[in-house]
Symmetry: C2
Subunit: 762 residues, 2 copies
């Protein structure tokens, strides 16, 4: 006791000290390479928190989508972020990347510096020498929050990258030569396939400024990103090649467009800009993006990086990251835990991304230009993933941003023609990925937590209209029958369960808004999970439109059994809004405890493991698949069966085995921060089993101490007494000196700040 | 004499009367079908003066561009306006059409009403029954300025069309049925070929409002037009089909997008909107366009046609036309002459078109959205054609609009990355069609005539930079050598001659701006025509880069002989800035008179006639090709050889034989009004041989009387005494009571108003 108290004092002292001139540099605890190997799908490149630019090396992108096979092509999945840690070559640096998604897009505007003979063909991973792609030595590669560097073997060019919210900044150190080329590859993109590029446009405005755009149709069907690019010195020449299969040139034929013709346009274009480089000179490139216009991109560029001081921008990026990472100060048991934790913080704060120009203009879902009025507009809402823990985390440490995100969702709704709140908001598009209408959960949680500053009736209206849009994913059947019939609409059980939860979330908003009719209606809908539980076999089971259950049924199978990316074992335990009913349905506390025990101990057969997408084998414990989201609340369900100690064991186990300080340290897709947010909550000792409610389930903290900046001037301190790697079980929990009755704690009791003290059994 | 004086008095009385409540309806003298047969390339549909919308029936469009053959496919050429008078079927009504061009584009947003079984395939001209295309009876078709109507055989639907500047208004009278479809064909377009459609987007905003856009790459490489469409009653159903060769549907696959899915997007889409129609009900459609956004289109729609009164909008359109047509009031010798004249006025006032939303926003050449500040922005500048007579005509009767057009050209220059003034301004694009940089002529003429209200130094800078853009069409050689060498750049003589004239026009601006250096430099350049005259053979002749003339040379041939759309005979007489030098070069007045005589009397061989594009055989007199532009000044050249009577004869002959009140009444492409403008000037008795100068050459007026509203509060009256069809020769011309010395008159002497009296030899 004495020792740990001393440690806490020392830590507190160091934090107090941090308020002074020498602040702790939390970026030193971030390893951006975590998750870049195998299925983490993170990228190592440079970005600032929630920035629109993610400037990162692409080692491969796989220009292939297997339409026949619903896209299930393993090779495709590896390159969602354009990078695999072990790849020996880099094709260039592109400016937009998803972090941790399982499907993909982006990779806009590849820039590659080359020396010597101009090569406009990228070459292949197997034959990098056939194009501008280059090998590189792993030891030359470094990554920090807001900074990435690598030395390319070809030409020995040392490449440094940093970024602001909307601008990527490249610094290339090149030996003296008169033959340097900056390739701008507008064909390049992540998940490229034939015809994905709809149109590209490039204007050489003068000898240092280039503008243009890239318009694609992929995961986002109608997407355009504009750019403005400035070189630190005048180009001496430029040109391009248009690779379109068929080109109508019309009266452009009077020009040799490939040489120094300042307006290039087509579907498939690669441009080059040529420079003479003096000894010890560095060539710098500032590359701004915008969803509005090239004028907007230029405005972003001039506002965010008016000068040429690379070091200054790099330092600013570091400071921005420090400001975000410092929101939770922790002391851990091992150095690696600290790195895993702050890297999780880093990954949790990459997206959603700011999606507006510096002047607040953004492209709406209707493709018109809107002005964000009183909020900052965001995109990349991977909501089936992130409603679970990422947005609840934001409510805790990013309340202002989460409020802005809710405003962004409502703006999306206002612009939606269906109308629906976002399912997966993707650069002025709805990409419809995955199931549910989980915006309502995020909104409900923000309202429950008092974060939302907007009109609750507008919010409620948006949620209700969303939940009543019949053509969406079996909703018309769900509304009519109380469940999605599997013969009419697949993944029917997953949908029914998630709709029921979402409906509960809507009811909570109605309650706050004092709208009884909607409250009653949606509370009734929130019990629809009952329709897909088969008491005969004790599993959630797909029901057909005639009211009978689907005959052939394998609760272990993840395909065609009524579930999406899960099975009856790990997806069927999803009634977060009424966990006690869940326990009862499955036979009461004892039986359900046994079932959970089985879940974590039964061994999946190989065929079922292989059927799980986007995860590595490390991401599986028994039948529990942590590498994907539907079961993220499951470890906490023991709290409802009278066995919180089992929750504590499982949570500790998952934290210790599935999050590691290695490139393959993520056991599945980070999914825009959801995997990381699960970890952050769990490390702190609690988890939002049911977003939209006031309650967190308690787990077993991994920290010795954590100080959380609640964004309201208050701090919440988590202390763990008798903490050790072995001391997993919690003896008692005190909140501001008062002992908690059970393994739960309320947000409303935490948000005023103070101290939670876990005393561990030792 | 007495009789004619009496007639004049009667006419003047009727004009005076016209100021009162009963105004003359000049639209009764317009026959929109003139030029719709054969090579006139006009359209019969509805538009208002200089309106962005030209809502017109398409009988065919020919989806074919012969790239190998430089596009010279006769069948293509017929359908520049989407219509041929004798075609027995109509495929629908599209909203944008060029008037009289020789190459084409547009045909955006085809709407077709159908009844009975839904057909989304258009069918073919040979088999209209295989699609939504319909036959129609010629006698059901009527066209007036601002109004078009036809009864479709299929379903017996009576279709009426009218328009405002930015909105097309359809009224369909349909017998009672519950099965009416409005087809919106976004694949349709004029000069469509594979891959022309870049992207299309449609949103069903509610049960009466649809928005979207069409993005194409054709003659204009990067062109997008947005729309907003409102139905007069709610649709009962809708759907679409996407015909893209390959479709990536991603997670859209969860929907049946073809039925009632409110957001459609793809390269090749046809949508249908279905209605139940009561007895005697009319279904109306308002269709607004914008180059800015769907929001802009909706704003245009709501501003220009807030209600549903078709008759009122039709009446407004008529009044708008009347206001423009009334700018020249004439009395003619025959009724047909009046119709031909007012139809020429009608055709002259269709384009350039207003290219901005009602709030002044427009898409610039840089694809960014701009606000027109202090001017109205226009597009469709077919300058190689229209600088000759159309813009000079505007200076006379549309000074404010021509000033706006000059401002539009300067805005184009400011947005141009080359930078150049427009060669052919085409919906936020430069399509580079034809040769020369004739914006400078329009600007010079507007400055000379005192119309231009902008900054002359800005104008001069734009002109000089344009004339110095080396990569354009041999300009770098021209600047270095004083001529375009044929071995370096084809059509070299045409280019050299036109550049020299344009340079003279620039020099005039420099003179006004007091910039001696530029004046001297460009006056020197203006004599460059000398380099391509071969005194040995007495013809303009292509010179090679070694200074020698091209050896194989046929002055009659129109291809590969240094000329474009002309030959040495009819294109070689082009030195409008120094016609006296021209006469001297060709051997003096006598020899040149003989040459002109020969030109009008020698018979072209068939092979040479066929080589002339865009004209009918009617458009040729000897070697003189009136159906194309390069020789439009030639009939007036006799004025410089001491034989104005021959000018008078030729002008009268051309007016009488090449402009007729029949569908095939235009002998060549109207070319955005240039052919019509030639006629209007010639009918009035004078012609701008050298735009940019103060001087008009006199001809032989066809009118008995004309009263021209000069737009400055003054009127100019042209009286012809002893006028008759036979009395072609002019005895004397009096200007405000003073006899003119020679066959010329100055603009500066006319613009103050007054009276020009031609006394004809009788």
């Amino acid at each position: 006791m004495k020792n740990s108290a001393l440690i806490i004092l020392l830590i507190l002292f160091s934090f107090a000290h941090a308020q002074g001139p020498v602040q702790t540099d939390f970026t030193q605890f971030v390893n951006p390479f975590i998750g870049t190997d195998k299925m983490g799908h993170t990228f190592p490149g440079a970005c600032v928190p929630f920035g629109m630019v993610q400037l990162s090396p692409d080692t491969d992108t796989i220009g292939y989508w297997d339409e026949e096979n619903n896209g299930y092509n393993k090779k495709v999945y590896e390159y969602c972020a354009g990078y695999q840690y072990d790849d020996p070559t880099i094709v260039g640096f592109s400016h937009t990347h998803f972090s941790g998604t399982g499907h993909s897009d982006l990779g806009d505007f590849l820039i590659m510096p080359t020396k010597g003979k101009l090569q406009l063909n990228p070459g292949t991973a197997d034959h990098p020498e056939k194009g501008f792609r280059s090998t590189y030595q792993k030891e030359t590669e470094t990554a920090e929050p807001g900074y990435y560097a690598v030395k390319l073997d070809d030409g020995g060019i040392f490449c440094q990258l940093t970024a602001t919210e909307r601008v990527g900044f490249h610094q290339y150190s090149i030996h003296e030569t008169d033959d340097v080329h900056i390739i701008l590859d507008l064909i390049h993109g992540i998940y490229n396939y034939d015809d994905k590029n709809v149109w590209t446009f490039v204007r050489v405005e003068n000898d240092t400024l280039v503008t243009g755009y890239r318009q694609t149709s992929g995961w986002a069907r109608t997407r355009t990103v504009y750019f403005a690019l400035v070189f630190s010195k005048p180009m001496k020449n430029y040109g391009h090649k248009r690779y379109d299969e068929w080109v109508y040139r019309g009266f452009y034929r009077k020009f040799n467009e490939e040489e120094k013709f300042p307006e290039m346009a087509g579907r498939q274009i690669r441009a080059h800009f040529d420079f003479k480089i003096e000894e010890h000179e560095q060539l710098r490139v500032k590359f701004a993006i915008s969803a509005v216009s090239t004028e907007g991109a230029l405005k972003n560029l001039q506002t965010e990086i008016p000068g040429w001081n690379f070091g200054k921008i790099r330092q600013q990026a570091k400071e921005k990251w420090n400001a975000e990472l410092a929101k939770i100060k922790i002391e851990t048991m091992t150095p690696d835990e600290k790195i895993v934790f702050y890297t999780a913080m880093y990954h949790a704060f990459i997206s959603p991304v700011i999606y507006e120009d510096v002047d607040g203009q953004y492209r709406g879902l209707d493709q018109n230009i809107h002005q964000s009025d009183g909020f900052t507009n965001y995109t990349i809402f991977s909501l089936w993933d992130t409603y679970r823990a990422l947005h609840p985390l934001f409510n805790l440490v990013q309340p202002q941003r989460n409020n802005d995100m809710v405003f962004s969702m409502l703006a999306h709704f206002d612009q939606s023609v269906h109308p629906m709140l976002p399912v997966w908001s993707h650069y002025s598009n709805e990409n419809w990925c995955m199931i549910g209408y989980h915006s309502v959960s995020v909104i409900s949680d923000a309202i429950e937590k008092g974060i939302f500053t907007g009109d609750i009736n507008h919010a409620l209206d948006a949620c209700v209209k969303t939940a009543e849009y019949g053509p969406f994913d079996g909703l018309e059947y769900y509304m009519e029958m109380g469940y999605v019939p599997e013969d009419k609409n697949g993944s029917s059980v997953s949908k029914t369960l998630e709709y029921a939860y979402d409906d509960w979330a809507i009811a909570q908003i109605a309650n706050k808004a004092g709208n009884e009719e909607v409250y009653d209606r949606f509370m009734k809908r929130s019990e629809n999970y009952k329709h897909v539980f088969d008491p005969e076999i004790g599993f959630m089971r797909p029901k057909l439109s005639d009211g009978s259950f689907k005959k052939e049924f394998d609760p272990l199978d993840t395909h065609g059994q009524g579930f999406i990316e899960g099975n009856a074992w790990n997806y069927g335990l999803y009634i977060p809004q009424q966990p006690h009913v869940l326990v009862e349905m499955y036979g009461g506390k004892k039986k359900f405890t046994n079932m959970l025990d089985q879940l974590f101990t039964l061994q999946l057969e190989d065929k079922h493991i292989e059927a799980n997408e986007d995860i590595t084998r490390d991401g599986i414990i028994g039948l529990y698949v942590h590498g994907n989201e539907p079961g993220h609340h499951i470890p906490y369900l023991y709290n409802y069966t009278g066995h919180p100690e089992k929750t504590q064991e499982r949570v500790r186990m998952i934290c210790n085995t599935m999050y590691r300080n290695t490139p393959d340290g993520l056991c599945g897709n980070d999914d825009c921060g959801q995997m990381s947010a699960w970890y952050i909550f769990s490390v702190l000792g609690f988890y939002p089993v049911c977003p939209g409610s006031d309650t967190y389930a308690l787990g077993s903290p991994l920290v010795k101490l954590a100080v959380i900046d609640l964004g309201n001037g208050k701090t919440l301190t988590i202390k763990t007494e008798n903490q050790s790697l072995e001391n997993v079980h919690v003896k008692s929990v005190m909140l501001n000196g008062k002992k908690l009755d059970g393994p739960f704690v309320d947000y409303s009791d935490l948000i005023g700040g103070g101290e939670v003290v876990f005393d561990m059994v030792h």
